[in-house]
């Protein structure tokens, strides 16, 4: 299977396109914030750093997922390098899936490094507080539950990568970006659709909203940042179901993307 070489080539391209420079910015933000908040808020420092770290991981990741994702297949077609690849023994779906795996690998590395960086800053901050202050926190500084938030953030990013890739098989990067960001925003405000009947009484509208809630990528349900930061438990079953949901959704999008791409004339 040519999946691995294609995936690795995407990863190498990310490295050479300096995608990982965002990690530097991330580190700077974390360190700067940890120095700054210490002077302004008493006792909430660790919570704020957790909030900031998780939010930045999610935000930086989404930018990578969208802006690299929308170009994955499009650029290859637009610059005609796809002619060379497809004249090799490579099926078109393999190209789509290989590209997806490559960007997924990039995101995995990115999120992992960010998680490590956040734990490092938290470990440093943890030392600065006496035991009495630590007792008052919602959750310990080096809370392993943060990993749940990171894993679910990664799942969100992988879902959005699949969305971006799906659009990039048939539409221009500009349009793909608009569609993908649209779905990202919709995916986060999804819960409002579920409870639409509290503000609208027209039945068909409620049904449409309810249908959209189930069909659009449900990112809000993968967002457990605030529960984790406040030390509230996140059920293992909930996490597994959410991950399974993300996996099914991704496979569906990749299937649709492959199907579309396999039938396209590459003029």
């Amino acid at each position: 299977m040519p999946l691995l070489p294609i995936a690795l080539s995407v990863f190498r391209e990310s490295v050479r396109d300096k995608v990982f420079y965002n990690l530097l910015l991330f580190a700077v933000i974390l360190v700067a914030a940890s120095l700054l908040v210490g002077q302004t808020t008493a006792g909430q420092d660790v919570k704020i750093i957790k909030d900031l770290g998780l939010a930045a991981t999610s935000l930086f990741g989404i930018f990578i997922a969208v802006f690299v994702g929308i170009n994955l297949v499009w650029k290859e077609v637009e610059r005609r390098s796809v002619y060379n690849v497809l004249s090799k023994p490579v099926r078109r779906p393999a190209l789509v899936v290989g590209k997806y795996l490559g960007l997924s690998l990039t995101l995995l590395v990115n999120v992992s490094v960010m998680a490590l960086a956040l734990y490092a800053v938290l470990a440093y901050m943890n030392q600065g507080f006496p035991e009495s202050v630590r007792q008052a926190w919602d959750a310990p500084a080096l809370d392993p539950a943060l990993l749940i938030a990171f894993v679910l953030i990664l799942a969100q990013l992988l879902m959005m990568t699949a969305v971006a890739l799906f659009f990039s098989t048939f539409s221009s990067p500009m349009l793909s970006a608009v569609f993908t960001f649209g779905l990202y925003v919709a995916g986060h405000f999804n819960a409002d659709l579920k409870n639409f009947e509290t503000i609208v009484s027209l039945r068909p509208v409620v049904w449409v909203a309810r249908a959209l809630y189930y069909v659009l990528p449900n990112l809000a349900s993968l967002d457990v940042k605030s529960q984790v930061v406040h030390g509230q438990p996140v059920a293992a079953g909930y996490v597994s179901l959410s991950l399974l949901y993300a996996a099914v959704y991704i496979v569906m999008l990749l299937g649709a993307a492959s199907l579309i791409f396999a039938r396209r004339d590459l003029k």
Binding site: P2, R80, N84, V85, L86, S87
Partner: protein, 319 residues
């Protein structure tokens, strides 16, 4: 067995964004290429050459008809292990070097690491890029990219090679390199199918050609069958003749062209005796520079065929 075979291969593109009109890029092309042949696929710009190659690579899907390579349908991925393809004006990845690119493609072919390294090195030397192998492809000129394109088309030691305008973007040395390469491939028994609008290349390399115009096959066959090989006349170049002496040569000249002071090109009819004319020139104080028989060239043939096609299709034609 055929290396390449197409039957009524047809491709329509839809033109226009809102009201789509079909545009027939290729019209019922039927063609066979035998193993070991160097086949020239000729035609003016927009004749459908690139479309045919894309159909053979299944980059686009036919509207009608079928195409086979090595007796397998073009959609068969396994057949791609045995072919090579150079697209027109090839483009690769900015972030890779030529060496990395060839190794990447080598992995797509499933070649092992040692073979990948070895072939990448050999081929880059062969296309004259040995010194630039570690340079990022974004710094490559058009001609250098063309050479990389040739190298990647030969990476898997293919049985059939498809080259779309292999000479384009190359300097005279590059053209010579490609000619030599094609002849070496022929000697190895590789089938070479190349498109071109430069006829001298085809004349120098091909055993058979097909001529395409307006999406239709207008002629195909052996060069020797297509072109009349009997002499149509003679071209005699002389030097050191005065203008008076020229008139003294007498009747029978078809055309006289002045090349420089005292140097003329004389066109003689087919039935003339060139040795007599040469003797006459020498007697008048001139010196013979060259004597060449005039035969029909592929270019004459091409212009005649394509011109006839245009005359046929122009009035009231819709494609």
């Amino acid at each position: 067995m055929h290396a390449i075979e197409t039957e009524n291969l047809t491709k329509d593109y839809a033109l226009g964004f809102w009201r789509k009109r079909p545009y027939r890029a290729l019209d019922r092309l039927t063609l066979q290429v035998s193993p070991g042949e160097v086949f020239g696929f000729l035609g003016p710009n927009g004749a459908g050459k690139t479309t045919t190659l894309k159909l053979l690579m299944q980059l686009v899907f036919p509207t009608a008809g079928r195409a086979e390579i090595l007796d397998r349908p073009v959609g068969d991925v396994e057949v791609r292990r045995r072919i090579g393809y150079l697209p027109e004006n090839p483009y690769f990845y900015d972030h890779l070097t030529a060496e990395e690119l060839l190794r990447y493609y080598g992995r797509l072919f499933g070649l092992d690491r040692a073979t990948r390294r070895q072939r990448a090195g050999e081929l880059l030397d062969e296309v004259g890029l040995g010194a630039e192998r570690r340079l990022a492809l974004r710094r490559y000129s058009k001609g250098m990219l063309q050479r990389v394109g040739l190298a990647q088309a030969l990476l898997n030691r293919p049985q059939v090679v498809f080259l779309d305008e292999p000479m384009s973007g190359l300097d005279p040395i590059g053209r010579r390199m490609v000619r030599d390469l094609i002849l070496r491939l022929r000697d190895r028994g590789t089938t070479v199918f190349f498109s071109s609008h430069i006829l001298s290349d085809a004349e120098a390399l091909c055993s058979r050609v097909a001529i395409l115009a307006g999406g239709r096959l207008v002629s195909s066959g052996r060069l020797t069958d297509m072109l009349a090989f009997e002499v149509k006349g003679w071209d005699l170049v002389v030097d050191g003749l005065s203008a008076d002496a020229l008139t003294g040569l007498g009747p029978g000249l078809i055309r006289t062209t002045t090349i420089a002071e005292g140097r003329y090109a004389l066109e003689l009819p087919a039935d003339a005796r060139p040795d007599e004319w040469m003797a006459r020139c020498t007697a008048l104080g001139g010196r013979v520079v060259s004597l060449n028989p005039l035969r029909e060239t592929l270019e004459d043939f091409f212009v005649r065929q394509v011109g006839a096609h245009h005359r046929r299709t122009e009035p009231g034609s819709n494609n």
